[in-house]
């Protein structure tokens, strides 16, 4: 079991390392001279020279990569080209704000979707299933910006209960930001819920058709007990990975949603960085997203291992 954990950890680290190479390569692949590309056609030669200096462009690429990664490991993500501030501090602040949305979204969406998915699975092809499946199909078919726009129309304009845009800056306190969290969280939650519901439903249907569920039923157990004790542990295992995948996906979703609500999170920061061609900032955010993705999947795998006796005792069985 320990060696499984070790192997999984190693592979996670390897994936992060590979992603960092990909990110670095993508951003250094600007055609021509990076500095003059960033500054545009009208840049003065002096400005270009300063920027080259700032980006260490005179060094070979692999050396810059190593320096970047080395810095990243120690928490130094470089200096923003736009603001001249350290990237780490700025990203950290925005990350806190984004986490606020993410936590709310995850808590609500995951609970809701698992419950709905299991319900749909149990009432397969009857009206609760038809309703839930239909809604989740629509949920996964409309992009976040549409959901966000419709939510604004409904809850900020028609019935003005929640703010349509955030006026606070990134350093606002959590208390100040809290009222602004709900709409973005709802917008993000819709698609996420839709996907998890579908997965949970399929999984429940599969497991309920399994022989061990029939056996449990024929043992004379009540339906509730059959579902909770026998079916759900096996049914929720595969759902775990989809949940992890969706949590990781939030990082992408926030770009759009934060833009709609003008919410001061990582997504907005990312868009600013794109507009400013702020390479260090972009690199940092991409690396953090990749790390989040890998960590979520790692957590799901380890969680699955903890829940699945087959995986937990794999080593033991292998010996016999």
């Amino acid at each position: 079991m320990l060696s499984f954990v070790a192997r999984r950890l190693f592979s996670a680290l390897l994936t992060i390392a590979l992603s960092s190479v990909l990110i670095f390569l993508a951003l250094q692949a600007l055609p021509g001279d990076v500095a003059s590309q960033i500054l545009g056609r009208d840049a003065t030669p002096e400005a270009v020279a300063t920027l080259r200096e700032q980006l260490d462009l005179d060094q070979p690429a692999w050396q810059r990569y190593l320096e970047w990664v080395g810095g990243a490991v120690t928490g130094d993500l470089g200096t923003s080209l736009a603001s001249g501030e350290p990237v780490a501090a700025e990203v950290g602040l925005h990350l806190r704000n984004t986490l606020l949305i993410a936590v709310v979204t995850i808590l609500v969406a995951v609970t809701l979707s698992v419950v709905l998915g299991v319900l749909a699975g149990l009432y397969r092809d009857r009206w609760p299933d038809t309703l839930i499946s239909g809604l989740s199909l629509v949920g996964m078919s409309v992009p976040e910006f549409v959901v966000a726009t419709l939510l604004v129309l409904a809850l900020s304009i028609t019935v003005p209960v929640l703010p349509a845009v955030v006026l606070d800056g990134p350093s606002a306190s959590i208390g100040e930001l809290l009222p602004a969290v709900w709409l973005p969280a709802a917008a993000l939650g819709v698609a996420m819920t839709a996907y998890i519901v579908r997965m949970a439903r399929t999984s429940v249907i599969d497991v309920m058709a399994g022989e061990f569920v029939t056996t449990a039923t024929l043992k004379g157990l009540g339906r509730w007990r059959v579902v909770t004790r026998h079916a759900l542990p096996s049914a929720l295992l595969p759902t775990l990975n989809v949940i992890a995948m969706n949590i990781a996906w939030l990082v992408g979703g926030v770009v759009v949603v934060e833009n709609v609500f003008n919410y001061p999170g990582v997504g907005s920061l990312m868009l600013q960085a794109v507009h400013n061609r702020d390479l260090p900032m972009l690199q940092a955010i991409a690396l953090i997203s990749a790390t989040v993705y890998v960590l979520c999947n790692l957590a799901a795998d380890l969680g699955a291992m903890a829940l699945n006796p087959k995986l937990r005792s794999r080593e033991q069985v292998g010996l016999r």
Binding site: V142, P143, V146, V242, A248, G252, V255, V256, V274, Y293
Partner: protein
């Protein structure tokens, strides 16, 4: 391959078999019909649109629905209906290109990797995982920052971003087929890898690939619309649904149709693709939901 004859029988069997299974699937047909309708509209937009989609008419700006403009006008006085009819062309074209590329690449890589296994499989999947770990929106924004937002760049970038996900799905499907006795029989016979791929493996995963195509297309359209919404896809004044929502969002109280019409168009297209994917996978017994989201 030592044998080169015309053996169409097997291939015809695959196709008729797959289509035959579709006969009873209302879901699939409704979905495919929706998609077909959208394709038709996009194709015929220049002929059926009542106005030019880009012509400004300040005098008639922000008009509600009426005889002259069935769905009203936007802030520049452009006809919303004409813009919506034209609005799918960019997204459909770019999405179609990107999806075809991603599915084709992913299928080839996935099959080869599944059949070969070993270090190649390990290496390729490791790289794929690394690409997967960067959220698509983010990856595209990075690419757009570096290379600009031309349609070709977007097509290539989107297909690259989604190739790993397709590879994973196809690889899993091919791995399901690879240990089958009929593949073993081909190996014992001494068939080459390409022959095993095209004769034994691919015909048995065509269904998976088709479902993957429909599903991937829906994600690609969502992604591309989001990009347009953020201002990195179609350039104004090109009519595009995502862009239209972005432009008219602020005026939603004045002319709701200007935002709602492109939303409805976009949603019906994606719902159509999802219904098609659901219907196909159910009719063919392909496990679609398991693919999760990547």
């Amino acid at each position: 391959m030592s044998g080169t004859g015309t053996d169409t029988t097997g291939r015809r069997g695959t196709l008729t078999g797959l289509l035959g299974a579709l006969r009873g699937s209302t879901t699939a047909w409704v979905g495919l019909a929706l998609v077909a309708a959208h394709l038709l509209v996009a194709l015929l937009a220049p002929l059926v649109a009542p106005h030019s989609p880009v012509e400004n008419d300040p005098a008639n700006a922000l008009a509600g629905p009426g005889w002259a403009h069935w769905a009203g006008t936007d802030q520049y006085g452009r006809d919303v209906l004409s813009r919506v009819l034209h609005g799918g062309r960019y997204a459909l074209m770019v999405s179609f290109g990107a999806t075809v590329l991603a599915v084709a690449l992913g299928t080839v890589i996935g099959c080869v990797v599944a059949l070969r296994g070993g270090w190649l499989d390990n290496l390729v999947m490791r790289v794929m995982d690394a690409v997967l770990s960067i959220p698509p929106v983010l990856a595209l924004l990075v690419v757009v920052t570096v290379l600009g937002a031309g349609p070709l760049v977007i097509v290539l970038a989107v297909s690259l971003v989604y190739t790993p996900a397709v590879t994973r799905v196809v690889r899993a499907a091919a791995q399901g087929v690879a240990p089958s006795d009929y593949v073993t029989a081909a190996r014992v016979r001494g068939e080459r890898t390409t022959s095993i791929l095209f004769r034994e493996v691919l015909p048995n995963i065509v269904d998976v690939v088709c479902v993957e195509f429909a599903m991937r297309a829906s994600w690609v359209i969502l992604l591309i619309s989001s990009l347009s919404f953020l201002g990195f896809g179609a350039n104004p004044p090109t009519p595009d649904w995502g862009l239209m929502v972005a432009e008219n969002r602020t005026a939603i109280t004045v002319v709701p149709m200007a935002s709602l019409a492109p939303i409805i168009a976009l949603a019906t297209l994606v719902i159509g693709l999802n219904l098609a994917a659901d219907g196909l996978s159910k009719a063919w017994g392909v496990d679609r939901v398991r693919k999760g989201r990547a």
